[in-house]
Symmetry: C2
Subunit: 202 residues, 2 copies
Amino acid sequence: MTRRTREHRSAAERREQLLDAAVEVMREGGIGAASTRAVAERAGLPQGAFHYCFRSKDELFAALLERELNASLGQVWDALAEVRDMEASIAAALRALLDHVRSDPEYHLLSAELTDMAARTPALAHVARREHTTYVDHVDRMLRRWQESGGGRLSVDSRALAEALVAASIGITSAWLSARDDEAAHASVALFSSALARAATP
Amino acid sequence: MTRRTREHRSAAERREQLLDAAVEVMREGGIGAASTRAVAERAGLPQGAFHYCFRSKDELFAALLERELNASLGQVWDALAEVRDMEASIAAALRALLDHVRSDPEYHLLSAELTDMAARTPALAHVARREHTTYVDHVDRMLRRWQESGGGRLSVDSRALAEALVAASIGITSAWLSARDDEAAHASVALFSSALARAATP
DNA sequence: GTCTATACGTGGATAGAC
DNA sequence: GTCTATCCACGTATAGAC
C-alpha cells in the first residue's frame, strides 16, 4: 500500500527544490548536464513538474543566478574590518577564500561557468554586472570600516583597492582551478598581500 | 551548371576548417551552441563531413583546446623584457591585455568557457594545467630576461611574481567581462602595477 | 574521399487525465 | 496541484551510395 500521490507543496518550495537539484547536477556535470529531465529527476519529481514551477529552462537559469551568485562568499572579507595589520588581514581573507575553493572545487567551477553564461546572455548580463558590483561594494565597506575604527589610513582610494582585491581573488581562484598548484597559489597570496598592503598604507 | 562536388581537400585542412567554424559558432553562442550540425554548416560542409575529420565531438574539443588555449596572448608580456621601468612595463602589459579583451570580448568569454570545461573534464584537465604553466613560464622568462639585460634586480622570486602577474591579468580580465567597467579596470591596472613593481624591486 | 539518408537517443515543452 | 503520455525539434553517429 504505497502512496501514489506526492505531498502537496507550495510552488515556492518546489522551486527551491528544483534549484537545489539543478546545483547538484551542475556541480557534477557542468551547466550542460542540467536538462529539465535530469534536474527534475534529481529533485525526485516527474519531469512535467518542472514546467509548473518554471515557465522555461531560461527562467530557472535566471532564478539560479540570482540565488547562487549572491551566495555569500563575502564573509571571507569580513576579517578586513577587524584585524589591524592590513597585510595580515588581506592574507587571511585570500587564504580563507583559497581554502574554500580547495575544499569545494566543483562549486567554484560552476560559479565561474554561471558567471560566464550570465555575461554572454544579453538578458542576464545585468545580473553578472550587479553581482560583481555588490561584491566590490562589500569589500569596500570593510575597508572603510577598518579605516574608521582606527586601523589606520589608506593612501589609495578604498574602492580602487577593493576592486583590485576582488580581481586578485578571482585570479588566484581561477589559476588554482586550472593548475591545482597549491604552492603557486600560496605564493601569489603572499605577494599580493604584501604588495597591496604596502601600496595602500603610508 | 553548378558544380556538384566539392574540392578535394586533405583531412588536415578539413579539420582546420571545422575548428575555425567551431570557434565562430562558439563566439556567438557559447560552447553549447556548437553542435556538429552547426559547426559543419558554418564550415560549408555537410554534417556527415564532421565524422571523417573527427571521430567524435569530444575529439574536436580536445583539438580545439590544444589550438586555442595556446593562442599567443603571451606577446603582450614581451614588453616586460624591454622596458627598464618595471612599473611602466607591467602597466603596459596589463593595458595591452585589457585593450585586447575590450576589442574582442566574445573571444575572451569563450576562452574562459573553454578553460572551465577543460578543468572540469578529467580527460582534459591536463591541458588546462599545461596551458597555465606554459603561460607562467613565458612571463617568468621575460622577467628574467629583464633582469639579465640590466634592467635591475628583483627582490622576489621571479616565478612567484610571474604567477601573481598572470593571476592579476586573469582577475582584471574576468572582472571586466562581468562588469564592463573601464574605469574600475584601469584603476586596478594602475594599482597592481605600482604595488607589484614596488614589492618586486628594491 | 565526399556526401545523403537515416537510425536512434535526448531534450524542451504541452495536453489532458486525475 | 500533480502526474503521464506524447509531440516535435535537435543532436550524434553510422551505413552505404557515388
